[in-house]
Structure formats: structure tokens, C-alpha cells
């Protein structure tokens, strides 16, 4: 590893991140199933309200709610969410640090708080809704089917190509045998990218052929899985409740 070029190390990290990010078996399933489209809309709605809020009160209330929700998840899920939250919060705090020296420390707290709440909201959604349910949510929101298929396949290929590039990086590392050769610094990164590109081209052609032989003619059709139920109705009330809290706190402060 010590002698591998920086580019290959970065590629390896990216592909490992992708691999972990799409591991479906880690998804935590709740006792009740709520329409994924509603959950997605709620997250977007919440993030918009967080961005619009002009004072810290609403952000603190949302943060409290999210922490309560987080506490209900499994320890490994909490760990995963926190691991995503910490770097984003730290980075925002560092970026906002000059505001403190310019006499506006409140900005540091409000902006960092907004980022924490937004990342927490998204991470919790990610931890509790499987990727396929999210794509079904897009379908429920009447996004074009071909767009959903493209997203699905992009994730699929990112993972596969991540594996491919990992395998090539490992092969390069093994062949460098621990020796420092200045030529290796430039050549492998270009070589790995080029090979990965060629493999990706072949894979995309073969995948499209695999779809064609199973009757695909340009229109992506799926079966809807979730029907609106009383739990979804209750969830709709959460929208109203959050909106009322937002209006109340914005007026009160």
C-alpha cells in the first residue's frame, strides 16, 4: 500500500465507500411500513423548513426530535449515522469559524445546527429505507420510469466498477512488489481509469442486451408495491405538525 500512487488510493477509497453505502442488508426495517414516497417528501419538506428558519429555536426542536428518533435505532445504525454526521458538522464549523472572529458567533451555531439537522435527517432516511424503496418512491412521485431505471443502474454499475477498479489496484500493488518506481506513479492511475472505462463500456452494452432479451423495449415498467394506509395518513399529520411548529416558532422569536 505504501508505494501505490495517490490516485489509486483515492479510487480504492471511493469504491470501498460505494460498496458500503449500497449494502442493503444493513437497512433497518421499522415495525410499520410507511409509504417511502411520503418519507422522502417529509425529509425534503423538513430540510426546506430548516433552511428557511431564521432562528435557532426551530432547528433545536427538530434536532431534539431527530435525536429521539435516532435513539430508537439499533446501535450499529446509530454509529453509522454519527460517523456521517461528525465530518459534515466539523467541516461546517471550520468553514464558519471566521464568522466568530468577525463578531457574529450566532451564525456559527445556526448554520452548523442546520447542517447537523439536514445530514441527520438524510442519514436516518438512508438507514431506514432501502435503496430500492427510494427508487419506488420516485415512481410514486411520478418521475419518468426511464429516469428511475437510469438511477438504479448507475448505482449498480458504480458498485461493480468500484470492484473492478479495486481488483486492478490490488493487482498493480502486488506487481509493484514494494519497490518505488517513479513510472508507476503516473502510469497505473491512467491505466486503471482507461481499463475501467473500457470494461464499463462492455458492461453497459451487455446489460442493455440482457434487458432486450427479457422483453425491454424502452419502457421501464414496474409493479407498485405499497398501497396508502392509515399509517401513511398519520404520517401526513406529521407534515402539518412540523409546519405549525415552524410557523409558531418563527413568529414567537
Amino acid at each position: 500500500m505504501k508505494n501505490s500512487p495517490a490516485g489509486t488510493k483515492i479510487m480504492k477509497t471511493i469504491s470501498l465507500l460505494l460498496k458500503n453505502d449500497t449494502e442493503m442488508s444493513k437497512i433497518e426495517k421499522g415495525k410499520w411500513v410507511i409509504l417511502p414516497a411520503l418519507r422522502l417528501l417529509f425529509v425534503l419538506f423538513l430540510i426546506i423548513l430548516i433552511s428557511l428558519s431564521k432562528n435557532a429555536a426551530f432547528v433545536i426542536v427538530v434536532f431534539a426530535g431527530l435525536v429521539v428518533r435516532l435513539a430508537m435505532l439499533k446501535p450499529e445504525t446509530i454509529k453509522m449515522v454519527v460517523m456521517r454526521l461528525v465530518p459534515a458538522s466539523l467541516l461546517t464549523a471550520i468553514i464558519m469559524l471566521p464568522a466568530v472572529f468577525l463578531g457574529n458567533p450566532r451564525s456559527l451555531i445556526v448554520v452548523t445546527g442546520k447542517v447537523i439537522c439536514s445530514v441527520l435527517t438524510l442519514s436516518e432516511l438512508n438507514a431506514s429505507v432501502a435503496w430500492k424503496d427510494l427508487t419506488h418512491a420516485l415512481q410514486d412521485l411520478h418521475l419518468p420510469q426511464i429516469f428511475i431505471l437510469t438511477i438504479d443502474m448507475t448505482v449498480h454499475f458504480l458498485v461493480i466498477l468500484g470492484r473492478v477498479s479495486n481488483a486492478i489496484v490490488e493487482a498493480v500493488e502486488l506487481r509493484t512488489c514494494g519497490k518505488k518506481n517513479p513510472n508507476w506513479k503516473k502510469a497505473p492511475t491512467g491505466g486503471i481509469l482507461g481499463t475501467t472505462y473500457l470494461i464499463s463500456e462492455r458492461m453497459s452494452r451487455e446489460s442493455s442486451e440482457a434487458m432486450v432479451v427479457r422483453g425491454f423495449s424502452g419502457e421501464y415498467k414496474t409493479l407498485k408495491k405499497h398501497k396508502f394506509n392509515w399509517m401513511d395518513l398519520l404520517y401526513l399529520f406529521a407534515f402539518v405538525l412540523v409546519l405549525l411548529i415552524f410557523i409558531y416558532l418563527e413568529r414567537a422569536m
Binding site: E206, V213, S217, L223
Partner: protein, 224 residues
């Protein structure tokens, strides 16, 4: 009448020949095994059988009708042609592209335009038959090689085609999965079905094939 017929078919990739003057008839109810060294043109032959490539010379006839590029450009014709066939690719990873195993099996069924209830019934049947219950919600790209092959097989079995084309179905599989695939190929045999497969393993081909078709390094049919 032959289910599939090749009449003096030649096919090449630019200046590289893949199939030369291939003539053969495949009858329904039989299992054929196409044998030959790597690069002899087996996969190219399968591409012609599935309408993904077209002969440079000669004719490929399916159910008495010549399959041409022009005909395959007609959506209805292409869809109806592909519904009669189930093609298992050599690389199962590429064959699987949806976000869950269940969706993968449903993909072909939904494209066939079957009613929702029937799609679900068939998917359940083949998920159960291929013992995929515990993998139903998993993303296909996170499965092992053997599991991917099972999902790919389930996805074509569910379409219940009467022609199966299996390109090296045992490729990269462990012994248990190889036995399992062999068993399932035996299971899908029926008097109405035509099965064509490519393989290198003689034990396997001896077990499953009724007729062996051999191609040589010169991309020609040599013996039956």
C-alpha cells in the same frame, strides 16, 4: 419443422471471423450442447440465436421465419421473439440490473405485459423453486457468484419460454452449485422445449445433452 435453423451462416467482427458457414437445425424437445475451444464462435452463435447479432451471410430461421435486423427493429416483433426465448448470459453480474432479486424476476414478466397477479404468482413460484426466499430483498450485485447465477436462471425461468439458451452455465461456479444447475436443467426439459447450451465440462454435457454439436478453432461446425 425445425425450431431453429441455420443456413450457411457466417458472422464476423470486422475482419475477425466468428462463425463460418454454419448450417444446422435445432429440433424442439431436445437438449443440444455446443462444444468447442474458447473463441471458436459459440457466444457469437448464441447472439445470432437471440437476435442480438445478425448473420453477414446465410439465414437464421426461427419458427419458420427468417430473423433479420429489419424485422427485429419492429418493437412488437422483437418483443414477441424475445418472449419465446430465455437467454442465460455467461456473466450473470451483467444480466442482473434491478435493485432487488424480486424486481429482477419480475422485470421480464412485467415486460411481457402479464397481469400483476400473475406476475406475482410466477415470481413467488420461481423464488420458492430456486430457494431465493432469503435473498428476495437483496440487491443482486451484492450476491455471491452462485446466487447471482440462480437469480439469473430464476429470472428467465419465470418467463416460461420454450427455448432456453444457456451460455456456459457452470462458468465460475463451485461443485455444489454446478450439481444444482445440472439438476435444474434436467428439470426444465420437456417435449416442447428446446435447450441449447455451451459448456467445456464433458461430465456435465454427457449428463444433460441429447446431442453434441462441436465447433473447431476455425469457427466451423465439425461433427455431431
Amino acid at each position: 419443422m425445425a425450431r431453429m435453423e441455420f443456413k450457411n451462416v457466417s458472422f464476423s467482427y470486422g475482419e475477425f471471423p466468428a462463425v463460418k458457414d454454419f448450417s444446422y437445425s435445432f429440433e424442439r424437445g431436445k437438449t443440444y450442447c455446443i462444444e468447442g475451444p474458447n473463441g471458436c464462435g459459440k457466444s457469437s452463435l448464441f447472439r445470432i440465436m437471440t437476435g442480438l447479432s445478425f448473420p453477414d451471410k446465410g439465414q437464421f430461421i426461427f419458427d419458420g421465419e427468417e430473423i433479420t435486423e429489419k424485422k427485429m427493429k419492429r418493437r412488437e416483433f422483437a418483443t414477441s421473439f424475445h418472449q419465446k426465448q430465455g437467454f442465460l448470459f455467461q456473466n450473470s453480474e451483467i444480466q442482473l440490473f434491478t435493485s432487488s432479486v424480486e424486481d429482477e424476476i419480475l422485470f421480464g414478466l412485467v415486460n411481457m405485459g402479464l397481469p400483476e397477479e400473475e406476475c406475482r404468482e410466477r415470481a413467488e413460484k420461481y423464488i420458492h423453486m430456486l430457494r431465493l426466499e432469503h435473498l428476495r430483498e437483496r440487491a443482486p450485485f451484492n450476491l455471491s457468484g452462485g446466487e447471482k447465477k440462480r437469480v439469473a436462471l430464476a429470472s428467465i425461468l419465470a418467463m416460461e419460454p420454450d427455448v432456453f439458451i444457456l451460455d456456459e452455465p457452470l462458468n465460475g461456479l463451485d461443485e455444489d452449485t454446478q450439481h444444482w444447475i445440472t439438476h435444474h436443467i434436467d428439470m426444465i426439459k420437456s417435449p416442447d422445449r428446446l435447450i441449447i447450451l455451451a459448456a467445456h465440462d464433458h461430465h456435465f454435457t454427457d449428463k444433460v445433452a441429447d446431442i453434441k454439436v462441436r465447433m473447431n478453432k476455425d469457427h466451423r461446425l465439425v461433427e455431431e
